[in-house]
């Protein structure tokens, strides 16, 4: 009798627990018996699964690029723009732009992709309730007209010769005008992309299946994409090594060494990313260029490169301008070299003979974040600049502290057209002007670059701009490689500088 009651009690405890899994049991239904082997590509993503275009930064690019399409793609091999949903585009004066759309493209829900959808997508950027990340970029748009289903004419307020590049941005995925993205954008995203979301378990995994109606014949090659959200890089790589996943984006150079030492893995580096160390120009102490220069003189790029587990000018690059070394617009200015004495003199000149303490905000969980922050603290200390490190999770950092601190470390993706970045972050009125730079000459140069049609003239402006930044700029641009670990079986992994991986081409050998 007593034993019975004990078992009863245990039963009472266990049965409700087990019933919790009844939900889990249903998952098994998805695993249907397969007649022929499906081609499955499995990816371990470290970033969480926020995918409504425009609403948030830090998307899982494998999700975004697979579910949505863009008007224009980039060829990962050549870096040239390639037609996607738009077959052609043109503008005579850089003010009125005409986009011809691809016919016969269908959304995952079966509706046709038309010029109305383009109009919806672009007008959505101006929705005040949304706080679209591209709101400022597209504020330049004066009007959008759709003469027919497959033509879109965009009139700008001013001339913008590189306007077409903004169509490759990851926030400008083409959306359906009939779909409620504010409600379903993150639970049931839908686009015209090569893969369709079948099942999403937030913070755990996503299952995407082939879009058999995809406009590009023969694509996608894989039948299924399985994306796991694994926040810890080491765990992700362990999964790769254990053969549980095929692709791990955003690995560190250290892990690159580890993977290359092992058998059956390769590491690709599609592009460089920037880590901007931004000094706020509108507040103490960096309002004084001497302090900014002192900070720059205390830098040792080689040490920073090593802290990022790379070698300077091999994997890691360093300059003091917003322009990335690898871009054509880059002007090669020789590095100033570490000079602690000079740094101290400059500080004294600025009125800090005994050094100074400044708060340094960064995202502690972002790749390279902690390493760069701690190295910077070491580097500046001899010069008398004491950094008070304030590390926060990336989302907290971006939402609470970014744009509002004396010294920041932020990760930036590379913009194909540097003018997009300049407008965004270095114009005094730029929405993401994190260093609060307010330099008339810089503003002037940026405006000129933006509207200059002549390439050589534009390059001249670029050169001057970089000199200005070297003299009195507010930024140190440390460039780190974006590395992707792949199992040898993965073929044709493409990811151009737009950051959007083109998994439709990838297949498993």
């Amino acid at each position: 009798m007593k034993k019975f009651t004990i078992f009863m009690m245990l039963g009472l405890f266990i049965i409700p627990t087990l019933s919790l899994f009844a939900g889990g049991q249903k998952d098994a239904e998805i695993k249907q018996p397969e007649a022929e082997k499906k081609m499955v590509i499995r990816i371990a993503e470290q970033v969480p699964n926020l995918i409504t275009p425009g609403a948030w930064d830090g998307q899982a690019f494998s999700l975004n690029s697979s579910i949505y399409d863009y008007l224009i793609e980039m060829d990962s091999a050549t870096g040239e723009l390639a037609p996607a949903l738009a077959t052609e585009w043109s503008s005579k004066d850089g003010k009125v732009w005409t986009f011809k759309l691809r016919e016969g493209v269908k959304f995952h829900d079966g509706s046709a992709f038309t010029s109305k959808d383009v109009q919806f997508t672009l007008e959505r950027t101006q929705d005040p309730d949304l706080g679209h990340l591209k709101a400022k970029d597209f504020a330049v748009v004066k009007s959008i007209s759709t003469p027919n289903d497959y033509t879109v004419i965009i009139t700008l307020k001013e001339s913008l010769p590189t306007f077409q590049y903004s169509m490759t941005d990851y926030n400008v995925a083409m959306l359906s005008s009939d779909y409620d993205y504010s409600k379903l954008g993150e639970s049931a995203p839908m686009g015209t992309g090569p893969f369709m979301l079948k099942k999403l378990i937030p913070k755990e995994s996503a299952l995407l299946v082939k879009n058999s109606n995809y406009w590009q014949p023969g694509l996608p090659k894989a039948d299924e994409l399985q994306i796991y959200f694994v926040p810890d890089i080491d765990s992700s790589v362990s999964l790769l090594e254990a053969g549980k996943v095929d692709i791990v984006p955003q690995i560190s150079p250290l892990i690159k060494q580890r993977l290359e030492a092992g058998d059956g893995f390769k590491v690709v580096s599609p592009y460089q990313e920037s880590r901007f160390i931004a000094m706020a120009m509108d507040r103490e102490p960096f309002d004084d260029n001497n302090v900014r220069l002192a900070f720059k003189y205390s830098m040792d790029p080689e040490i920073l490169a090593k802290a990022c587990q790379g070698t300077l000018n091999k994997e890691i690059y360093y300059n003091e301008t917003p322009i990335v070394n690898k871009l054509a617009q880059y002007k090669d200015i020789s590095l100033r070299g570490q000079d602690i004495k000079k740094a101290k003199d400059l500080l004294a000149k600025a009125g800090y003979p005994d050094g100074l303490t400044v708060e340094f905000y960064y995202a502690s969980d972002h790749p390279y974040g902690k390493e760069i922050a701690q190295t910077l603290k070491e580097l500046t200390a001899p010069a008398g600049i004491v950094l008070d490190l304030k590390g926060f999770p990336r989302d907290i950092y971006l939402s609470q502290y970014w744009m509002n601190a004396p010294l920041l470390l932020t990760g930036w993706g590379v913009r194909v057209d540097p003018s997009m970045l300049l407008m965004l972050a270095y114009h005094s009125e730029g929405p993401w002007n994190e260093s609060h730079i307010n330099d008339p000459e810089v503003d002037d140069l940026i405006t000129k670059i933006k509207s200059e049609v002549d390439d050589a003239q534009r390059q001249e402006y670029y050169d001057r701009l970089q000199e200005v930044f070297f003299e009195r700029g507010t930024v140190i641009n440390l460039q780190v490689p974006y590395l992707v670990g792949l199992s040898d079986a993965v073929q044709d992994y493409r990811q151009p500088i737009t950051m959007l991986s083109q998994l439709k081409y990838a297949y498993i050998k």
Binding site: I303, A307, S364, E371, L389, F392
Partner: protein, 276 residues
Amino acid sequence: MKTILLHLKNNPLAILGIMILFLWIFAALFGPALLSYNYTEMDMEHQMTTPGEYGHLLGTDALGRDVFARIIYGSRSILTVALMTSLVSSIVGILIGFTAGYFGSLVDTFFLRAMDILMAIPPLVLSMVVLGILGDSSFLSLTLIVSIAFTPATARVARGALLSCKGSEYVDAARIRGESHFIIMFVEILPNTIGPIIVEITARFAYSIMMIASLGFLGVGLQPPTPDWGMMVIENKSIIRAASWTVLYPSLAIASLVIAVSLFSDFVSKVMIHEK
């Protein structure tokens, strides 16, 4: 004193524990002065050096920092915070527990229920949530919050200790002598509860170390580059295969310190119980 030594003689594990503990205290007090490296110094020529090479006793981490130096410096922060936490939570616990137990009836019920309710959330979760929400952990906030998280438990111990004495006739004797509540609580009763309270403080010390290490591990502890042991573990976990020492030695440091403190607290409780 003599009996303590006799107890020690029969308890080799306690001797071991006390020796390790003293070693760590010594390391925390004098270690940094004896080190050839600073805990933030980056030896960029020798990143992830294996232990023993290039003068790095326990190797270096990915930034070329000396793991040994970081562990030695780390002992400072963890010992300080843990000691402060165990003291603060015990003192607050004594105040609350004594008040509740002494006045009994409604006061007691109120405090007891309040403590019960607070205990419904595990201390680790509580500290993690509060520290995580505040975002920016300092020595002060860490000490305060962990202390608060521990207080319900210490208050219960203090209350129990008081109750075991409260029924004693010497308390009655003090009452009918017209002594004030304060005198009865803290002059008559407190000295006689010192045994269990010391046991609690030492045990709490061990818990504090575990807790602070865990919070560091979860990334809501002290800010880098403070060499927090728990943080060192999670920081270097991604290179555990390439440089296992960067993870293993901080782990062992935590292990040895907590085990030493636990052995010590075990010993203290044995002595205190025997004394009774």
